[in-house]
């Protein structure tokens, strides 16, 4: 435990308080499994965690990032599923754990894994290109309704979060969109800037750079309340200046979890180690910076609270998928 004590300030205090509880520790390098491609939001988060752990010496063993983005992330899910009782693999999960088994009939159920903690909630924002004349949701929706050719909406993957949001926008407004599924959020962002699509529903992190460059416009955020960060991100706007879609008359809400899972059949001591580890990560300045920069909603759930959250979230996602008609027969 000595190395922890020298690690630094808040972290050290935490560690001292919890030190006796740490009975188990990894004896091999820990693999952090990313269910998406290089450079995507999950990959960035994994690199942040890797760097935070290394800088603050939170774990003796090194952490390696393992990209398993094949088959839209199904590769990572099956990999975790087949790694029962291996405590050296952690998955960064997002809503694909609910959606992929439904849409593509992947034989996977998140209940077979061991939930560790929910570490953030990700937002969705409706964006359009700044060269288009639609300055708010109403103008945009009216134009989409009036257009003879359906507006092109870019997004990541098919029958996933972005596609579901698009279907619900169609249901609420009566406008029709031609949904273009790209391989990544980054691609969806570039295609919007190049005017190949009229809009997308990217996460804040995916469109951050092009927003700051003034190439895209944030129309509204799909949440009950505005994003809390008030520091200016572009020349004129902070995340907090982006209205909610409900304020703008488009009553659609969706948040996506970012959570850590271990494979099934690990011991409670092993799980406890990781709960503690990610708790410490969530208190590092790297994590806090990251949350603000990517406009993520801070949250830390673990144990029973997390399972309860997951069950409710699963129910919600399943009903959305059902209603959108994306459940494979």
């Amino acid at each position: 435990m000595k190395s922890f004590v020298v690690a630094g300030t808040a972290v050290a205090a935490m560690t001292l308080a919890n030190a006796p509880a740490l009975a188990w520790e990894p004896t091999k390098p820990v693999e952090i499994v990313v269910a998406a491609g290089a450079g995507g939001a999950s990959d960035q988060m994994a690199r942040m965690i890797q760097a935070a752990i290394q800088k603050h010496n939170l774990m003796k063993q090194p952490m390696v990032v393992s990209l398993k983005g094949g088959a839209s992330g199904a590769e990572a899910l099956m990999y975790m599923k087949s790694s029962d009782s291996d405590p050296n693999k952690v998955l960064i999960a997002y809503s694909l754990i609910y959606m992929l088994p439904l849409s593509a009939k992947i034989p996977f159920n998140w209940r077979e894994l061991t939930p560790v903690s929910v570490i953030a909630m990700d937002q969705f924002v409706l964006w359009d290109n700044t060269t288009l004349p639609y300055k708010n949701v109403k103008e945009f929706v009216d134009a989409a309704k009036a257009s003879a050719q359906p507006f092109k909406m870019g997004g990541t993957g098919s029958k996933r979060e972005d596609h579901v949001l698009t279907v619900f926008m169609e249901k609420k407004t009566g406008a029709k969109f031609a949904y273009l599924p790209y391989k990544s959020g980054g691609e969806a962002a570039t295609q919007l800037v190049g005017n190949h699509t009229a809009s997308n529903v990217n996460n804040p992190s995916e469109n951050l750079e092009v927003w700051r460059a003034g190439q895209v416009r944030a129309l509204c955020v799909f949440d009950k309340e505005r994003i809390s960060y008030k520091t200016k991100v572009t020349d004129t706007q902070s995340w907090n200046d982006v209205p909610t879609c409900k304020e703008e008359g488009l009553d659609v809400q969706y948040l996506m979890l970012r959570a850590m899972f271990l494979p099934g059949k690990v011991t409670p001591e092993q799980t406890a180690f990781y709960v503690d580890l990610f708790k410490k990560v969530s208190e590092t300045p790297e994590y806090k910076d990251y949350m603000e920069k990517q406009a993520l909603k801070p949250i830390f759930l673990t144990g029973k609270d997390m399972v309860k959250f997951l069950e409710e979230d699963d129910k919600l996602n399943s009903s959305l998928m059902e209603e959108a008609g994306f459940v494979a027969k």
Partner: protein, 505 residues
């Protein structure tokens, strides 16, 4: 000019002993991972990425980009010596590089490969230096129809310009396209051809196929010839180097053409892989002696290597300016940048001038240092060929297996690689070319996605492929190349008819 001042500043940042030492370390590591087949650039950079977390950003990026250059150089070594391409773009280097090695001209081929790599990169770096801001907006013009037209161009040029019988090229390409469809389909979100096997979920990895098709099948063929190959000693001296360099100016058109193609396809998002094939095919098409290609012609090494490196270097530009990585290695590099809070995007060039120009300066330095380094080690690599086949073959097979396994940490991939080894052996026996197969495997699913997205966007109207001058000209060019043999024959016939007419008239 502003670019010069900024670049000079970049050099000042870099020219310290510490940075130069890091550069050497990065290059050596890079060559090492490039030489191991299948480990290759992306995996190598991924493994070495955490090494740089404790460094300051400039040192870190210099080290990483040098690993990248090293891997690019290293990929040529296995292609030439063992017929095993390390990266997708090294495939075309095997066509003439490997026959040269078999003829005892390994040192010559390696020198040619390294030198032309250097020229290609230099061309692309110069381009980046002067055109960086403007190129980003060119890349933005690429939507689904434009992407598809570029892939179509590559496929068509293969059929139209290839030396092999057309129907065999098409059979090979069609098989590649079929296998490219295995796994998750992005557009519909459904699984295809996985037959319930979770190992097939992620699809058939291109590198696994290539290692088997080229590497393992080569071992099988050599075994059939009773291990009687490659006792040749590769004569290595400064004279070889000098001879190759003396010959080079004769091929200036090939070098320039390949550099231009490489740079253009590198900047075109996603085009980098096609570059080396196109460079090779065009060199062959415009050569006075196309029959000698594939039999150990030095021009056949110059052409793809120059194009591959021009595109590998130019591929960094869309990555920095748009956040679209042009290759697997560039994608890992992208992840590395984000750790230091350098988010690729249009503002990177404005907000992090120091970093961007430091990186560009490191491209110049890294390439020069890299060239010296690899040239001095040519004798070492060429000496490998003097080891008896019976001793080296098991080592190659083992390193192929490690490479195939390392790509996705999957035992299944080793079996797949062996299967492709047998397929490659059979293909070689019945004369079906392997290159169209690998090309279709690597570009097939992207071409399909681009086509379907274009169709969704245009409501199923095929005229979208002629909807603006950019996509229209690429598509038209594709069809011209597809029917090139017919067209060139027709042109020949017409001029034949005209000539006697002139004489009599």
């Amino acid at each position: 000019m502003e670019a010069f001042t900024l670049l000079a500043h970049g050099f000042v940042v870099l020219l310290t002993w510490k940075t130069l030492a890091l550069m050497m370390v990065g290059l050596v590591l890079g060559i090492f991972v490039g030489v191991l087949p299948g480990l290759g650039g992306p995996n190598g950079v991924a493994i070495l990425l955490p090494l740089t977390f404790t460094m300051d950003p400039t040192s870190a990026i210099v080290m990483l980009s040098c690993i990248y250059w090293g891997a690019l150089f290293g990929g040529a070594i296995t292609s030439i010596l063992f017929n095993i391409p390390g990266e997708a773009w090294s495939v075309a280097t095997t066509f003439d590089g490997y026959p040269m090695a078999q003829q005892g001209r390994a040192a010559e081929a390696l020198t040619a490969a390294f030198t032309s790599s250097f020229i290609g990169s230099l061309f692309a770096v110069l381009l980046i230096t002067f055109l960086a801001p403007g190129i980003a907006s060119f890349a933005l013009q690429f939507g689904p129809p434009e992407f598809f037209s570029v892939y179509l161009l590559t496929f068509c040029s293969f059929v139209g310009l290839g030396r092999e019988a057309k129907h065999k090229t098409i059979i090979s390409m069609a098989l590649g396209l079929l296998l490219a469809g295995v796994g998750m389909d992005t557009v519909s979100g459904q699984l295809r051809m996985t037959f319930g096997f979770s190992d097939l979920l992620r699809g058939i990895n291109f590198l696994v196929a290539v290692i088997g098709l080229f590497g393992i099948s080569e071992i099988l063929l050599t075994m059939e010839e009773r291990l009687a190959l490659r006792g040749h000693s590769a004569r290595i001296s400064l004279r070889v180097l000098w001879n190759v360099w003396k010959d080079m100016p004769r091929y200036w058109i090939t070098l320039l053409r390949s550099s231009a193609i490489g740079a253009w396809l590198g900047i075109t998002p996603g085009g980098a892989i096609a570059a080396s094939f196109m460079g090779y095919n065009l060199a062959k098409r415009f050569s006075k002696d196309p029959e000698s290609f594939g039999k150990g012609r030095i021009e056949g090494v110059f052409a793809p290597e120059t194009a591959a490196h021009a595109s590998g270097t130019a591929a960094l530009l869309p990555m920095l300016a748009l956040g679209i990585p042009g290759s697997g290695t560039a994608a890992i590099l992208l992840g590395g940048l984000m750790v230091w809070g350098l988010n690729p995007g249009p503002l990177l060039f404005v907000e992090h001038k120091d970093f961007v120009w430091g990186l560009i300066a490191s491209m110049y330095l890294g390439n020069i240092v890299g060239l010296v380094l690899v040239l001095t080690t040519v004798p070492v690599f060429a000496a490998v060929l003097r080891v008896p086949f019976a001793a080296i073959a098991p080592m190659i097979v083992v390193s192929c297996a490690i490479g195939a396994y390392a790509i996705q940490n999957a035992m299944f991939d080793i079996w797949l690689m062996l299967l492709f080894g047998v397929v490659g052996y059979v293909f070689k026996k019945i004369g079906i070319p392997l290159a169209p197969f690998t090309l279709a495997l690597v570009l097939g699913s992207r071409a399909e996605d681009a086509f379907r997205l274009a169709m969704i966007g245009a409501g199923g109207d095929l005229r979208v492929f002629w909807s603006n001058s950019l996509v229209g000209s690429i598509t038209t060019l594709a069809f011209i190349l597809l029917f090139w043999p017919v067209i060139s024959k027709a042109v020949g016939r017409v001029s034949e008819l005209l000539q006697p007419a002139k004489r009599t008239g």
